[in-house]
Symmetry: C2
Subunit: 207 residues, 2 copies
Amino acid sequence: MESITTADAPAPTRGRPREFCPDAALSAALGVFWAKGYDGASMADLTAAMGITKPSLYAAFGNKEQLFHQALDRYEAEKLAYTREALKQPTARAVAEHFMRGAVAAQTSTCDPKGCMGVVSASACGAEGDSIKAHIMQRRQSSNAALVARFEQARQDGDLPSNLDPQALAYYLYAILQGMAVLATSGATRDDLDGVVSIALSMWPTS
Amino acid sequence: MESITTADAPAPTRGRPREFCPDAALSAALGVFWAKGYDGASMADLTAAMGITKPSLYAAFGNKEQLFHQALDRYEAEKLAYTREALKQPTARAVAEHFMRGAVAAQTSTCDPKGCMGVVSASACGAEGDSIKAHIMQRRQSSNAALVARFEQARQDGDLPSNLDPQALAYYLYAILQGMAVLATSGATRDDLDGVVSIALSMWPTS
DNA sequence: TCGATTCCATAACGACCGGTATATAATGAC
DNA sequence: GTCATTATATACCGGTCGTTATGGAATCGA
């Protein structure tokens, strides 16, 4: 009942040392969850990809759900870093462009699964996965709130038409982002999504 | 090894008559698949919703995968009828508006599950569900081809800017449609999606 | 009434699920 | 060396999965 997280500093070197790198194992687990979703990823899939046995997994990460949450944390920290960058862009249009370009890059990377882990996992969790769904929805709402605030500021800056509802514009942008994620998992190429982005940008509201 | 479909005309009235309506049972199964996806819907869920036992289900519909395909056929025939109407609209803008308004209505209906059955099921199928995924992707591609053809005609009609790529515009529209489906399953209200539609329409390219 | 036929209900099948008990191997502390 | 401690490896747990075998109930043509 201790040291579930991977970032426990003092390194208690007593007892047999573990033979795997928790960091690499968590990355492998992230790849499986990303590709298959929470329910679709079985413990056999996870242990095979991580290169460890089930008792090692349970000792290091708790259980399947806790492992998923740690993988989701890493996903947001590493693969969704562009969203935090995007909010800092100077104009509403630049914010949207950064969001969309970053999403396309993340969703069609050749060394990662296609699509968005949140979309895959939130759609693919049944029964007890309500905790998963609630967690993802909560993250989504906080991201949405930040984007709405950014668009409101943009409107005050004269950066967006004053008759445009920032909340609706945020939903519009999220719809495009998550729609591209669905398209990416369905086989759309990077060029396909770049076309979507360029069209969306060409229509972006001005002044 | 016969009469898997529900539409076998001659009604062989020999033997004990079945005690349930295959049509209503299929509708109930559709609701379960729509809400939970292919993998997420268990046979126990299905039989409970359909009000029949497992042997009856297997006798009438084959197996789980064949039942899903029949449910998907009905979904496309009934719930996606607006897409065929949309393609007949006179202008590209009217086509897009019909698509989006129909999608919002279908995805936020109070008497049906939220979201899009294709998005839910394609995201949520693991392992042997590749057949499911392939089927949905094939349907999506044929729909896409029809929409691209419609937009190409619109461009020839002078209904769209001549420098606009019809394929990219089709992907853009699909991204919005499927993105709204993801939002709908995540709790977005009908008003939220109406806002997305009105923004997308306000930006729609002219002449 | 008598098969023949078709459907319903119960129970069972093997396979896999997430999770764990048990035993063994490898280290540090003493 | 010896013990406590921690990790690994194997096997197993109860439960659920999709699927099916079995037996009884209901309708037909004869």
